[in-house]
């Protein structure tokens, strides 16, 4: 009885048949750029002392912090398991193994159907996930800047021909990452949006339209920091000096490409996490294994996740994020 159709608002071209998509020179160029990019990122993070782990695909619980997106249930020998929406809980836990960890993690989120027309949402995607023990938000932001720089340099060095064929100006791209990224607080971003006449709830995530506006206005990628509590998952640490403000950040690309990365200092105090889980309307009981680890103690940390397909789209200058996936799943569209 379920029928699938694109959202009513806006329209984007959708991927063709699997053969058409796999035979497309755009798909091929994007795949080469992505491969060079990931190789460079791995090399960069190895140089920074990170160890790569293979992340789990399913577990009893996953990240609830995704805006309105449904998780996918798996019947695991009679237990309700979830396909990972992000690796966050495992990233924190993995600090029991190494102080600096990296994964290229697959995620599945059944996003609201309106995201089918944003050009920047996929129901199945990957993240470059990084977590480091005893680090601050500022250190995480500096590292995210380094990772994006390495990705751009890797793509420019290894896939210059593909970038040129796609019409991307390699010099301009290199210039984007040649200086520190900009920074502004969530409150300032909201004020800017209001001054432009755009409605934006000051207690909430920057909405997709607003994010595209800010992104188009920027001449260099920039961080938005200090999101309000109530806009993010329970693991983003609340400022001790400024209650209600989170020690987190997003990285926004230029040219309207929007958000590339989300990160934060993590909450690691057991009792605080329990209260924060309730504040996000979640049932603490299902987080049993994670809460037990917190209770026994895990290091304070900071980290982030960078969307692989979004970063590929940005570097390659693609119209839509699905062009950066070999087997794209646009929200609401049944595809292999």
């Amino acid at each position: 009885m379920t029928q699938t159709r694109p959202a009513a608002t806006g329209h984007q071209e959708l991927p063709g048949t699997p053969r058409e998509h796999l035979s497309s020179p755009v798909t091929r160029a994007a795949a080469i750029i992505q491969y060079r990019m990931l190789t460079a990122v791995r090399e960069y993070l190895r140089g920074q002392g990170f160890t790569e782990l293979l992340p789990p695909v399913i577990g009893p619980v996953t990240d609830p912090g995704a805006r309105g997106a449904k998780q996918v249930d798996v019947d695991y020998y009679g237990h309700r398991y979830k396909i990972m929406t992000s690796a966050i809980l495992y990233k924190q836990a993995s600090l029991a193994l190494f102080d600096k960890i990296l994964c290229i993690a697959p995620n599945v989120r059944l996003e609201p159907l309106e995201t089918a027309s944003t050009s920047r949402h996929l129901a199945e995607f990957h993240q470059i996930d990084v977590e480091m023990a005893n680090a601050s938000r500022e250190e995480a932001m500096a590292l995210a800047e380094g990772v994006v720089g390495a990705a751009v340099r890797g793509a420019v060095a290894g896939a210059a021909e593909e970038l040129a064929w796609l019409g991307r100006d390699v010099n301009q791209l290199s210039e984007l990452v040649s200086a520190p990224f900009g920074r502004r607080s969530h409150a300032d971003a909201v004020a800017d949006l209001h001054s432009m006449g755009h409605s934006q709830n000051p207690d909430a995530e920057i909405n997709w339209v607003a994010e595209a506006i800010l992104s188009r206005e920027a001449s260099r990628p920039f961080f938005v920091t200090d999101y309000p509590k109530g806009s993010r998952g329970f693991y983003d640490r609340e400022s001790r000096d400024r209650p209600g403000v989170l020690r987190n950040f997003d990285l926004i690309a230029t040219e309207g490409y929007g958000e590339l990365c989300s990160g934060s200092e993590r909450e690691s105090d057991y009792a605080t996490i329990i209260a924060r889980i309730r504040e996000t309307g979640e049932n603490p009981a299902k987080y049993g294994w994670y809460l037990q680890m917190l209770r026994e103690g895990i290091p304070a940390s900071a980290g982030f996740g960078i969307g692989v397909e979004r970063l590929t789209r940005y570097i390659a200058g693609l119209d839509a994020v699905w062009q950066a996936s070999v087997y794209p799943k646009v929200p609401g569209v049944a595809a292999p």
Binding site: T2, Q3, G68, P112, G230, S231, A275, R278, T280, N283
Partner: protein, 417 residues
């Protein structure tokens, strides 16, 4: 008609209205010409602060004069407008269909019948917590008729394009089943979402058993299936081979409530946000937190409310009467919805006069659709609407939203909060 019973509720009168519609607003026409009519002291529930209030029409009626000037004729009760906005939804009447939850008395046929008639009436509908974890969602299950989607589809098929809306509840345990995420991303629900007629109701508590979570009685096999998600008490119902399933009440502080509402607004920007409160002693403070965090409606379920299974000690002894909740809340700054023994126009009119925007029907709606699955609820509400029009007109007003505290009288006075 099934074996559905509602002891302690004016069941016979409700069933009669479900059959006859507006005729139920008057005494039996067979008595006309040979019976003398007057005040019946037994009417209402002794001790219920709302039943003990009286609606008191004035002699001087400036709003009637304004209406007369507008119409160029003397206004009558048929000139009273009942349309209103309930939690962001345009509604034909200041009435909505309350949540029934997954209680067996409300499942399957009655739930869907009530949904269809609420749609036809153009009034909003709340779908209760636990329907999805207990009965399923309806997209790929074997029996979609039992499900949440069956209720929403039944409603959407009947409702006019510009009226009504559906509010879907979620409680703490429902969060595991991600009811809101599921509904928000479902292609079948998009027409309601795109027309601004989808709300999510955060259930903080309920009237009949404040301080407890939802409860149902399950057969042993179903209880086993749900043991991971809910508390199953094997000591209750053991003699009948059944089990008591309980939800937790959920833990709330001011900050937890505030942040949950903000997160709902963040995650579901295109849905309206409703919050349902129990008849708690801090109901005024909780409602204030909910409104200031941006809730589109706050529902207060009086201790008289409830359709489902509840311990006798709670039914008889726990929670504030709805009237006392209204007194404590005072003048609401935004949309206040109320439920608890609603079935006729006078009680609804008194609640509107005390600050509510609309009233929810629970048990009465179930009895009505049980009496007549096709038209029972429509008949019951047409009768209620007639009473509302006559009462509002008698008070010299021509829109229900104009009812105010001046229209009611309490023997002992109605102290401000």
């Amino acid at each position: 008609m099934s074996l559905l019973r509602a002891d302690g509720f004016p069941e016979e009168t409700v069933r009669a209205r479900a059959k006859t519609g507006p005729d139920g607003a008057f005494p039996d026409p067979g008595g006309y010409g040979n019976t003398l009519y007057g005040y019946t002291p037994a009417a209402g529930q002794p001790g219920d602060p709302i039943d003990e209030l009286r609606l008191v029409p004035p002699v001087f009626v400036p709003q009637r004069l304004a209406k007369l000037i507008d119409l160029t004729r003397e206004p009558v009760y048929t000139d009273v407008a009942l349309d209103t906005v309930i939690g962001g939804f345009p509604s034909a009447l200041p009435v909505y269909l309350s949540a029934f939850g997954s209680t067996q008395a409300a499942s399957v046929d009655l739930g869907v019948a009530a949904s269809r008639q609420a749609g036809r009436l153009g009034i909003p509908m709340v779908v209760g917590e636990n329907v999805t974890p207990v009965n399923g969602y309806g997209r790929i299950e074997e029996d979609p008729q039992r499900s949440l989607l069956a209720r929403i589809s039944g409603y959407a098929q009947e409702v006019a394009d510009s009226r009504g809306g559906v509010a879907v509840q979620q409680s703490t345990e429902d969060a595991d089943a991600e009811v809101w995420n599921l509904v928000y991303s479902d292609p079948n629900v998009q027409p309601l979402l795109e027309s601004g007629r989808l709300a999510f109701e955060l259930k903080v508590g309920q009237g009949a058993k404040p301080g407890l979570g939802g409860m149902t009685v399950l057969d042993a096999a179903t209880a086993g299936r749900l043991a991971d998600a809910f508390t199953i008490d094997p000591a209750v119902g053991a003699e009948h081979g059944t089990r008591l399933r309980s939800s937790s009440p959920g833990t709330f502080t001011e900050e937890i409530l505030r942040q949950q509402i903000r997160l709902m607004r963040n995650n579901y920007p295109r849905a309206r946000i409703w919050v349902k409160l129990p008849p708690a002693r801090d109901v005024r403070e909780a409602a204030g937190v909910a409104w200031s965090a941006g809730a589109d409606a706050v529902t207060v379920d009086g201790a008289e409310g409830g359709t489902g299974w509840a311990p006798l000690a709670f039914l008889q002894h726990a929670g504030l009467p709805l009237g006392e909740c209204l007194r404590r809340i005072g003048d609401p700054p935004s949309c206040l919805l109320v439920s608890g023994r609603m079935w006729e126009g006078a009680r609804v009119a008194k609640c509107l006069a005390l600050g509510a925007t609309a009233a929810g029907l629970g048990r009465a709606a179930l009895l009505a659709v049980d009496t007549d699955p096709e038209n029972g609820l429509v008949n019951l509400i047409e009768c209620l609407a007639l009473e509302l029009r006559m009462l509002t007109s008698a008070l010299g007003k021509y829109h229900v939203a104009a009812l105010s505290r001046e229209d009611v009288w309490a023997a002992g006075g109605w102290c401000a909060p």
